[in-house]
């Protein structure tokens, strides 16, 4: 890519992708970006706006946070507060689901219906005919 091909829209796309620090852009774009900045005031204004955005994000980062001791105490208390029964709920539910699934699978894959078994039993009352 030559310098002439690096247009303002391309500069703006790169600005929004890589941020306002030109030094952190891909090396292949840095020289072209600087050349464009030296020629076009809209490019400079956009870069200035991006730097202000990033300055704002840096200035407004919250510096305080909850005290570590309070976080630890609350977390430990919450784990203790969990009812013992609720700790078994997932396993109980999973077990019941597995049993139900097994029973259902067994039922639908039976080769014959219960009536067939009953009929076979009746037939076999005359088992002596077979042997």
């Amino acid at each position: 890519m030559t310098t002439d091909e690096f247009t303002l829209p391309m500069f703006l796309d790169a600005l929004d992708l890589y941020g306002g620090t030109i030094e952190s852009w891909p090396p292949s774009l840095q020289a072209q970006a600087r050349e464009l900045l030296s020629r076009l005031s809209p490019a400079r204004e956009s870069l200035d706006a991006m730097l202000q955005v990033e300055g704002y994000l840096d200035r407004t980062r919250p510096l305080s946070s909850p005290a570590a001791g309070a976080i630890v105490a609350t977390a430990m208390q919450k784990r203790q507060d969990r009812p013992a029964a609720t700790r078994w709920v997932p396993w109980t539910a999973a077990g019941a689901l597995a049993l139900a699934a097994g029973a259902f699978t067994g039922f639908v894959t039976l080769p014959v219906t219960p009536q067939d078994y009953l009929g076979a039993a009746l037939v076999q009352t005359d088992a002596s005919d077979v042997w």
């Binding site: 706006a49 991006m50 994000l57 919250p62 570590a68 784990r79």
Partner: protein, 195 residues
Amino acid sequence: MDEDDGFWAVVTAEESDDELVAQVAKGDGLAFARLVQRHRSRLMAVAARILGSPAMAEDIVQETFTRAWINAPRWRVQNEGSAAFAAWLSRIATNLSIDQLRRANTVPLEAAPVIEDDAPGADAQMIEAERTRRLHAAMQDLPARQRAAVALTYDDGHSNAEGALILQISVGAFELLLVRARRALRLALMDGTEK
């Protein structure tokens, strides 16, 4: 620095996150405290940026660490890697913040931070205050995931690849979120249009 940093600085030794999580999995409260001390500030920054409310962010940080304490044994079995625990915490805090933001729909807009401007003139201070007000409003208008991309990049220092992993999207999708967010914020200072 918070009031309890002096004490925790003493107990915050050189153990890696992995070593501490292994101890937490066995119920070691002191190891848990060290992890809290190590990660709470950055999680607070991420949550506050997404929610626009430090008060709500404190609840998110608490819930994140509560989940970490409860789920540490399970996490240890499933995950390994030096940065994995930090990213896991970021993911929990980010997802909780996004959910909270979407649930609340309209998070009360807290006052824009006061700018301490070294410029001597009142005009310069007024211009700076107006810029900050615009950016604050533009930030509040960003969709939740764009805010998250900004927070993970600027407040938590993640690369695009790490941010994508935390949000569980592709790197390209993360970059798109970031591009849209940066553009919206930049245009908020430029009267909404490219010159």
